[in-house]
Amino acid sequence: MFFRKYEWYSSIKGVILSKHISKACQDCPSRMDGVFCELEEASLNDLGANKITNLYKKGQTLFVEGNPPFGLYCISTGNVKVSKLGPSGKENIVRLAGAGDVLGHRSIFTDQFYSATATALEDTRVCFIDKKYILDKVTKEPTISKNLMFRLGRDLGLSENRIASLSQKSVFERTSELLLLLGASHSEETGDGKMITLKLTREEMASYLGTSSETLIRCISELKSEKVLGQVGKSLVILDEEKLVEFANLNY
């Protein structure tokens, strides 16, 4: 026999442990925002048969910095933070990824280890597609290549903007910029303004901005005193977006 079966393994039969639900790609809520949005039905079915879908709870890692890549992660629902560890062991968030985003694609194309760690910020449904399958599909399906190139280009542009912001802008301006970014991507309209729905701790926000929690809290207090920002429970609410754009000192 190729494999011996162990006693405890045979007891697994018929037991469903997880809330794992196999979802077809056609039913994915992020399908039209994703890399595979232009695939035909047959290709989507093939993709569905070759992907692994898991539900990551808050704090669970998808992959770890420095370890070998095995494939591409497609976020169906939820949010993920991508972070790097500094020399002092301090975490720096380099990217926030949400529904429709892909992770791990740079490592499979450059054949390098993961350059950062991805951790779920909330319950996040992620589809994993292995490297061999993706590399094969990239050559056969031009829409996948095109969409991946679009994302790589977009991410490069965002990274360049972040580098410029970190070196040229004050913490107050960067805080305003981050709030605008979250307002555009993770918010819902309320009677008072835009409520930011992504639950980031002050430490996580400070980590993304490259500053300390104390400085960030001071900036947030200043924005609140200017009546630009409000708070409902633990959620921040953008009350005056126009003024926030002024404070962010955007170049366009």
Binding site: M1, F2, F3, R4, K5, Y6, W8, Y9, S10, I12, K13, V15, I16, L17, S18, K19, H20, S22, N50, I52, T53, N54, L55, Y56, K57, Q60, T61, F63, V64, E65, G66, N67, P68, F70, G71, F113, F128, D130, K131, K132, Y133, D136
Partner: protein, 111 residues
């Protein structure tokens, strides 16, 4: 855990799958997740963690392959320690080896 790999199959697997080294500790599969890849331990440590107990697997033992093939969730967390070398078995290559009759499909079924 899936079992002991015999030497004649190990050569076939080594020809078709990459050997990777983990630089940092990682929980490669969380409890009740489907593994992304199956692994055969070559050198180092892999720990299978249940709620109250844990087991270290030995070199040449495999983990996660059957769950990956059948797309069933694991009953345990799989933790890989730094410096561990594994043979990494992905689903696409496993399927192509089965299609070519290099590996027997029945070895991946439950029961």
């Amino acid at each position: 855990m899936n079992g002991q790999i015999y030497s004649q199959y190990f050569t076939i697997l080594k020809e078709n799958f990459p050997v990777v080294v983990y630089k940092n500790e990682e929980i490669v599969t969380h409890r009740s997740h489907i593994p992304r890849v199956g692994m055969i331990l070559i050198e180092g440590e892999i720990e299978l963690i249940k709620t109250k107990t844990s087991t270290l697997i030995k070199p040449c033992q495999s983990v996660g392959i059957i769950e990956l093939w059948n797309k069933t969730p694991t009953k345990y967390k799989i933790k890989v320690f730094p410096g561990t070398t594994v043979l990494s078995l992905d689903l696409s290559t496993l399927k192509s080896l089965v299609d070519q009759n290099i590996i027997d499909q029945c070895h991946f079924s439950l029961g």
